[in-house]
């Protein structure tokens, strides 16, 4: 059980540290807000076919602001020099990975709750009736994104051109996940039953599990020098 305690300690210190400044959370929320507004200009709201694009807009907002959080996940540790302190702790690489991943997941969830409420108002779509299936899809998507994102955050933290590198590492790998997310969200927002999204949910679950397993197997190689 000490393993869980240690993982939780990493999550706790990331969250406490972030809540002191709120720098990252605020910029993530603000950014997704902006994405919603910009897309509103880009696709004229008056048009009837907006509904087809709407789940795409939502996920673009989630993913782009999620990337901001990811970049900082290991980036800050690297910049402030605390990364070595963390690596010196008697915990397996997998523990460090989990701690960081859960932290990112929580930050993203907070941002997504905020974005979803803004979205409800700006795009005039009541999400309350779909909250349960939508929540499940967002959970799976955020988990998958945090899973691969944390691996690449650790990788890009030590490379040149860190932020650019992070996005070009994340996007090709997350392509299937993004397709599944947009499709499933679209079905739900259209008023479809959850049964219709099963094939997409299966892909999401498979994606999450496969990459969690791969992260477990390979994370040690990423943080060693």
């Amino acid at each position: 059980m000490t393993f869980i305690q240690k993982v939780w300690a990493i999550v706790w210190k990331d969250i406490t540290s972030e809540l002191r400044t709120k720098e990252m959370l605020l910029s993530m929320c603000l950014f997704s807000f902006l994405v919603l507004i910009v897309f509103n200009f880009a696709f004229d709201t008056g048009l009837k076919n907006l509904r087809e694009n709407i789940s795409g807009i939502l996920w673009v907002a989630f993913i782009f602001s999620g990337l901001m959080g990811l970049g900082r996940s290991f980036g800050v540790e690297r910049d402030k020099g605390t990364l070595y302190g963390l690596l010196l702790c008697p915990i397996s690489p997998w523990g460090i990975y989990l701690g960081k991943m859960i932290g990112t997941f929580i930050f993203m969830t907070i941002m997504e709750i905020f974005t979803l409420s803004i979205f409800t108002v700006l795009y005039n779509i009541n999400v309350i009736p779909f909250l349960l299936p939508l929540g499940l899809i967002i959970f799976l998507g955020t988990l998958g994104f945090a899973t691969i994102g944390t691996v690449f955050s650790a990788m890009s933290a030590t490379t040149k051109a860190r932020d650019v590198m992070l996005s070009i590492l994340v996007f090709p790998i997350s392509a299937p996940m993004i397709i599944a997310l947009v499709k499933a969200t679209g079905i739900i927002l259209w008023g479809g039953a959850i049964q219709e999204t099963y094939s997409w949910l299966k892909i999401l679950i498979a994606f999450d599990l496969v990459f969690l397993l791969l992260a477990y197997l390979t994370f040690g190689f990423i943080i060693e020098e």
């Binding site: 040149k160 996007f171 090709p172 790998i173 392509a175 299937p176 094939s199 990423i222 060693e224």
Partner: protein, 236 residues
């Protein structure tokens, strides 16, 4: 050394000969396909390249796993060289595909599963090469090995997803399911063998180049060491 050289020479000659034979087969031996006309001959370039691109990335995948398992930098070199050649073949696939599609389907591109997956595959390995150039020397091999594994595992998931997303384009089926005549099959086999030989010839040469670069760097490091030590002696 000389034994190797001789082997390479023969290999090179055979490759060259097979390429010429393939060209002959494609343009002279193979008949013109009835419904698509002469454009169909692109097929003989396109299909072997697609197979080899995929094969190259598979080599990268296996070599990456072996590198992490054994920590032998030779596997890393193989993974890298294979990925680079894979990108070359994948680029050929992505260029010849639309050139074929334009007169046949009347569009350059469709978001068909096969096409989209190939495009994403190409992206993944371009990013792989990029990652190698930006990562620090100390971590380059580990990073690229991990990315080589993640990227390859991602491919089947991507394909399944996109197939679910865009149900298979009917034109692809007519495109693949044409009644191929025996000379066409012969031509395809010859082209296939020729491209495989080309691939391995490129791979051997690329690996040789990388090994040579290693040697030169090693010698350079060695000389620097010597200079350093001599300097030290003079200092002391």
């Amino acid at each position: 050394m000389t034994h190797n050289r001789a082997f390479l020479k023969i290999f090179q000659f055979v490759t060259f000969f097979m390429m010429l034979l393939a060209l002959y087969a494609i343009f002279v031996y193979a008949p013109v396909e009835k419904s698509m006309g002469i454009v169909q001959k692109i097929f003989y370039l396109h299909v072997p390249s697609a197979f080899l691109a995929f094969f190259a990335f598979f080599i990268t995948f296996i070599a990456s796993i072996l590198y992490l398992y054994r920590r032998d930098h030779r596997w890393d070199v193989i993974a890298f060289c294979s990925a680079e050649i894979g990108v070359i073949f994948c680029t050929i696939v992505l260029i010849t595909g639309p050139i074929w599609a334009k007169p046949i389907w009347n569009v350059w591109w469709t978001w068909d599963p096969r096409l989209t997956t190939t495009l994403i595959l190409w992206f993944i390995y371009v990013v792989y090469l990029m990652l190698r150039s930006v990562a620090g020397e100390n971590q380059r091999s580990n990073f690229s090995a991990v990315f080589g594994i993640l990227g390859f595992v991602n491919v089947p998931i991507t394909f399944l997803t996109i197939r679910l997303w865009r149900t298979i384009h009917p034109l692809v089926i007519t495109g693949k399911g044409i009644n191929i005549s025996t000379p066409m099959i012969h031509t395809l086999i010859i082209a296939f063998v020729a491209f495989c030989l080309l691939f391995f010839w490129l791979l051997i040469n690329r690996i040789g180049l990388e090994k040579m670069r290693f040697k030169v760097e090693e010698i350079r490091g060695f000389i620097e060491d010597k200079i350093h030590l001599e300097h030290e002696k003079q200092g002391g």
